[in-house]
Every structure is written in structure tokens, then in C-alpha cells.
Amino acid sequence: MSEEQITVAQTPDISLQYEGRVVKDTRVGYSGFIVGAEHLLEIVKSLRDELGFDYLSSVTGVDYLPEGKMEVVYHLYRSIGGPALVLKVQVPRDEAVVPSLYHLFKSSDWQEREAWDLLGIRFEGHPDLRRILTWEGFAGHPLRKDWKEPYFEEETKPFKSRWPEGITGRIEDKNPYNDNVQYPHGFDPETWVPQAEEALYTSAKKIGRDEELHTDTIVVNLGPQHPSTHGVFRMVAALDGEQVVFLKPVVGYLHRNHEKIGERNTYLQNMPFTDRLDYVSSMSNNFAYALAVEKLMGIKPPERAEYIRVMMAELTRWMNHIFSFGFLWNDLGSYFTPMIYALEERELVLDIFEAVSGSRMMCNYFRFGGVARDLPEGVLDKVKELVFERMPRRLDDIDKMLTTNEIVRNRCIGCGVLTAEQAINNGASGPNLRASGVPYDIRRADPYSIYDRLNFDVVVHYHGDVYDRYLTRLDEARQANRILQQVVRDIPEGPIMTGKPAYQVRVPAGEAYGRVEGPKGELGFYIVSNGKPNPWRYHVRAPSFINLTSLEDMCRGGKIADVVLNLGAVDIVLGEVDR
């Protein structure tokens, strides 16, 4: 609890400065300030320009159905570090209209679109307020609490139909369509005109048309099935010759309703679901979610558990960066060789994860107040072997093979440049931000767990191009290795859980935002609890999703061949982008 007070004390009390326009959020368990929708723009502008809150990390909505209110929550940070300033705007549910921050912070672009799509909050002034995760024409806003999906059983889990009178058979057999679908009453499928593609293509065609010379642009569609889009990602680009003049990513092809399911699950049940967000680095996802819930519960894991957690998180980071090189050079054209090398190293880390948690990818290892089980015998020796011998050697190998390679240098240097101002404004995080010269690392800027005790450097490079992003990741992998060496040296004996393991945790009412420096960037979980066994709101601030906001800036003006390279250097995982 005392920590909570310190963080509140560190954020300036802006309710005095903007008296009359801003009031403190006085609900129990909540923090931050409530702003009237009409004052939002001027206050955010003033916060950005005068108080230095120049990094808008997260924008999301909360549907307070009983109060009939819709709340938009903004998390603002200083790019020099420090705790968050939380702003909230409350609007009536039926008429949810909030001014858009698009022109102040471009990072709000996709997040506002998401809030519109899923919650039906209209952002006035947003230039392109289309649906993002579902498709244009979708009926309703699914995250609203009164919206029910086809397979709706009950508001919250556990469902009563499972025990003691268990259901038999599959749920789809009870739906008249035999599948997970429903249609509004009076709907006629024959007269339906699909609208999803139309808006996108017409806006692409308009750009770059030269009326005098009668030149036209060509619209090219990449994905969602494309070998270099890292999954089901799609881009629509308008080309002038070979140059990209317009590029719009289209996401949502892997939208798995993570948040809707998360609000129905109990707190513990969400843990295995977080594995499936960024499925390359599941341990980091576990970490962020555990932190958020622990913040709400006011507990801290014991010392050994903290060390194990950091060990797992850093192994994940190392593995993820190695993996991203493989993908990047695959996109560059060196077909599969670096990829296979990267996967070979990854397997060794996965062996450890499998021995510790039971599964290679979907670890489900963290629990609130600790970890699921202690390290089995022999695992620590394996980690030591890996950390002190294999990892440094392999990193040197990669460095030797790729960093000075002429093809790599020619393709990557100067490609996809993102300046520091752009990176901050676009809400880029992780290696993407640090490659642009902003030394912002949450492990240092807003330390969590035991990172304040560990020695490591915040890696920063200054050109903001693909090559620097690669170098940032390479150096960060080295730093991860350095942290791991300290962790395996110092790991203490002791318990691994605070309290008894329980499948139903009691979480007091309130809100919490837990964030970690994941391998891809700032991974945050915003959780609102109303004291019941299930979270009222469960939002994921996914780094890949927000990093993609910068993709257009990186690609515009470049060649079409570099688009794939830029995408590879952003390092996305679609499970996290679409959730």
C-alpha cells in the first residue's frame, strides 16, 4: 500500500493547477483525475507542452453499465521516466462522444479506433474512425456490457451448466446455424452489400493522383496471406512507380476476443489466456498481468519468486530478439538460414521452459504472489550452462555473420527512419523507441520487481532506421544475458509463493495498470475490479499494436520492397496486435 502512496505523491496534483476543469478521482481504489470532455484537448495540450507529459501510452474505454456512464482512460507518461498521470473522461453511455487526441498524439490513432470498434465511443475529430478489429458492417459494439455474443451462456465464469449437471455435446449443436453466428431480426442476407473493402480502397486511390500529367497510383494489397507478413497481417499500399505514397495496415484477422473473454474469466483463468497474446514471449505476458493484479491485491511475491520471474522474463527477451533476427533476415531474402539458426537457439530456451512450466510456448507459469512451482532439479544448471557459455558465443556468432554483412548494411541503413519526436508521438515503445534515440526503458524509468537492483544498461541507438533497430535488439540481448548472469548467481533459496495457492483470489475494488518492458515494448494490463471474482474491465495495452502506428511513417517515401523489411524490424506478433 505504501508504494501506491508514493506513486500518487510523485505525480503532480493537477487538480489545483487546472481548478474547475479537473477534479481528483475520489472513488475508492482509483487514482488519477477526471476531466470534462469539453476541456480535454486544452488540458492534454497543456500537460504535454508545459508539464512534459509527452508520451500517451494507453487509451481505453470502460463501460460502467450500472451508472450509465462510459469512461475513457488515458495513461500519460514523461518520456524521461516516472509514474503515470491518469486522465479520465466520463460521458453518458448512449451518447458517447469524446474529442479525439489524434492531432496531439498520433499514438491515440489506433487505440481510439479500437475503442470505437469495441465500445462504441465516438472520437470527434478523428480523421479515419473506421472499425479496426472487427469489420465494417459488424452489428454492435462487442465490449459493451449489454452486448451478447451467439454463444452467450452466462455473464461470468464458472458456468453453472458444467457442474453438477454437466452438459454433454457441443454448444454449436444448440445454435440454429450450427456455428458461432447470429443475425439481427429481419435481416436479409441476399440484399446485403459488403462495405469493408470499399472505404479503404477508394481512399488509397485518391492519394498521389496527378491531375496535370494524368498519372495514377497503383494500389497493391499485401496479405493477409503473405509469407512475409508474420501472420495474418494485411497492408494496402498505393504506389507511385516503386515508391510508397500511402500505406494502411488492416488488422483484426486474428481478433480472438481476448478482452471480452477476459472480462468473463476469473482472475486466475486469464493467466493462460495471456500466454496467447504474444505467443513468442508468453512469460513476459504472464509477468505484466501478474503485476497488475498484484498491484490491486496489494501483495508482493517472495524473493526467490522475483528472481525466477526476472530470469524467465529475460530468457524470453533473449529468445524473442534472436527470433526476430531470424524473421528479419528472412524478410531480407536470406531464405531460412538465419531463421533456422535462431530457432535452434530458441529450442534450448524452450527446453528450459518446458521443464519448468510444462509447456514449450504457453507457459502459464506465474501466479498472483509468486510462481506456479519451483525450478525442478537440474534446470538451474542448464540455465547456467546456457547463460555463461552458449548465449554469449551465439550472440558473437550472429554479430560476426550479420552486422558487417554488406547486403544487410546496404538494405538496412537509412531504411524506415523514425525520428525521436515521431517515435514518442506515435507511442512507439521497446527497441523501436530506443533505436530512435530515446533512452526509455520501463525497467529503469518506472522500475518493477527487482530490476532496480540489477546492473544493466539501457541500450540506445540514434539513427532510428532498420539497422539501428537490429543493433538495439542485439545489444539488448547482450544486456539480457548480463542480467541473467547476475540472476543465476544471486538467486536465493526460499518460498516461491506468498500465501496459499488458491484458485479464487479476492481482489479489492479499484483499478490498476501494470506494465512491464516486454521484448516488444511496453506491455500493460489495465484492470478494473468491482470486488467480484471477475474483472469488470480487462484491457491489454499491446506493444505490437501501437508500434504499428509508426509503420506508415516508416514506409512512406520508401520503396515497396522495403515495406516488408520495415515490418520485420517493427517485430510484431499478430496474436498481440489483434488480441
Binding site: 447470429q182 446485403w192 471480452k260
Partner: protein
């Protein structure tokens, strides 16, 4: 594993194929050569796709089964591994890809999601299994199946291919197989084969609410 009923075909054997002695002796060579050069499509959907990529890497190495040639184009591939959650937004593309694949073609549903919706089944934008739209040959449970479990599934697929005979194979039939109709994204996903049913359901008179309430009270 021995499910012979799946392999029988209702198609008639064309007259020019009937009674040719050489076919039966060629059968073995034919099946052997086909099962040892199955080319998968390079097509990943979700988490399972990572395990599929791992399968192509050195530790598990599907090159040992003649499957290492992952083709990004459906025109050159023999089978499709549906590796991950199938969302409603993605179904039209998957069906289109399936239609573009040349016969003979196979589909492997990898993981719980592709087989039957998986853990995300209850959500609003996930379909309950790809077999609602395209025919699936092999189902591999697991979330995600480990690379070895996937290999086990692929071996099951080669076994199935091994059992196929020229005489009974569907793709030498005279009639070309009809393409699977591509679903449309409406207020929800619409399968063209179900338009009549959708119309019928959406134009039913709304049932009065009171009896439902009493039912709930009784329950």
C-alpha cells in the same frame, strides 16, 4: 487410424480408366511417390504457426518426410495446415485459398482452435472449427500441439495418402469438383450455403418474452 470408409469414393470410374491392368500395379509406386513429396502451404494463422515453423527448422526437420518445400502460393501446394484460431474475418480468405489449391488437396486442422474453436470458441469472432467450411482430413488436438504431435499428424496424413488408389481417386473424375462458396462478412459471418436458413431464422416472429421468464424461474 485405419479408417477405410473415408477413402472410398462415390464417383464413377471413367470408362477409359476401367479394366486397365497397369493401374493396379502402378498404384503402389503412385502412392509412394505422392506421400513422399507432400508440399505444405506456407500459411500461418496464430500460435500454432510458430510450432509449424519450428517443425521446418533443424530440430524436427520435416525435410525428412519430403515436406520441406513450403509454398507460399496455394497453386503449388498439396496440403494446407490450418495452424491456429480461425476468425470470422479470416474465413473468406482461407476458403478462397482452399479453392485455389489444385486437386488432390488435403487439409490438416492443427490444434484445438482449428479443429473446434479452441479456448476462444465462446468469443464472438471465432468460428467453431474450420471443418464447418472446408473438408478436413486430419485433426491434431493440443493447444498448441508440440512439433512432435504435429509430425504425428502429418504421418497420419501420409498414411492416408498411401491408401489412396488411382481407380477410386476423386480428382480423376470427369466432373471438376465444385468450389466451396466463399463466406461473406455481413453483420456476422454468412455462409452462402445457409442463406435460406438465415432468412428463415431472422424472419421468425419474435417470441413473447413472458414465457421465457417463467421458464427461468422454474429452472
Amino acid at each position: 487410424m485405419s479408417d477405410d470408409s473415408l477413402l472410398s469414393s462415390s464417383y464413377e470410374i471413367p470408362p477409359e480408366m476401367q479394366g486397365t491392368v497397369s493401374i493396379t500395379s502402378l498404384d503402389k509406386v503412385y502412392a509412394w511417390s505422392r506421400k513422399n513429396s507432400m508440399w505444405p502451404m506456407m500459411f500461418g494463422l496464430a500460435c500454432c504457426a510458430i510450432e509449424m515453423i519450428v517443425l521446418a527448422a533443424s530440430r524436427f526437420d520435416i525435410a525428412r518426410f519430403g515436406m520441406e518445400v513450403m509454398r507460399p502460393s496455394p497453386r503449388q501446394s498439396d496440403f494446407l495446415i490450418v495452424s491456429g484460431t480461425v476468425t470470422k474475418k479470416m474465413v473468406p480468405q482461407i476458403v478462397r485459398l482452399y479453392n485455389q489449391m489444385p486437386e488432390p488437396k488435403y487439409v490438416v486442422a492443427m490444434g484445438a482452435c482449428a479443429s473446434g474453436g479452441g479456448p476462444f470458441k465462446e468469443g464472438y469472432s471465432v468460428v467453431s472449427g474450420i471443418d464447418k467450411f472446408i473438408p478436413v482430413d486430419v485433426y491434431i488436438p493440443g493447444c498448441p500441439p508440440t512439433p512432435q504431435a504435429l509430425l504425428n499428424g502429418l504421418i497420419a496424413l501420409t498414411k492416408k495418402v498411401d491408401k489412396e488408389r488411382i481407380k477410386t481417386s476423386e480428382w480423376y473424375a470427369k466432373e471438376p469438383e465444385a468450389a466451396v462458396p466463399v463466406p461473406v462478412l455481413g453483420p456476422d459471418l454468412m455462409d452462402p450455403r445457409k442463406y435460406a436458413l438465415i432468412y428463415e431464422q431472422t424472419h421468425r416472429p419474435i417470441e413473447p418474452e413472458t414465457p421465457v421468464e417463467t421458464e427461468q424461474k422454474e429452472g
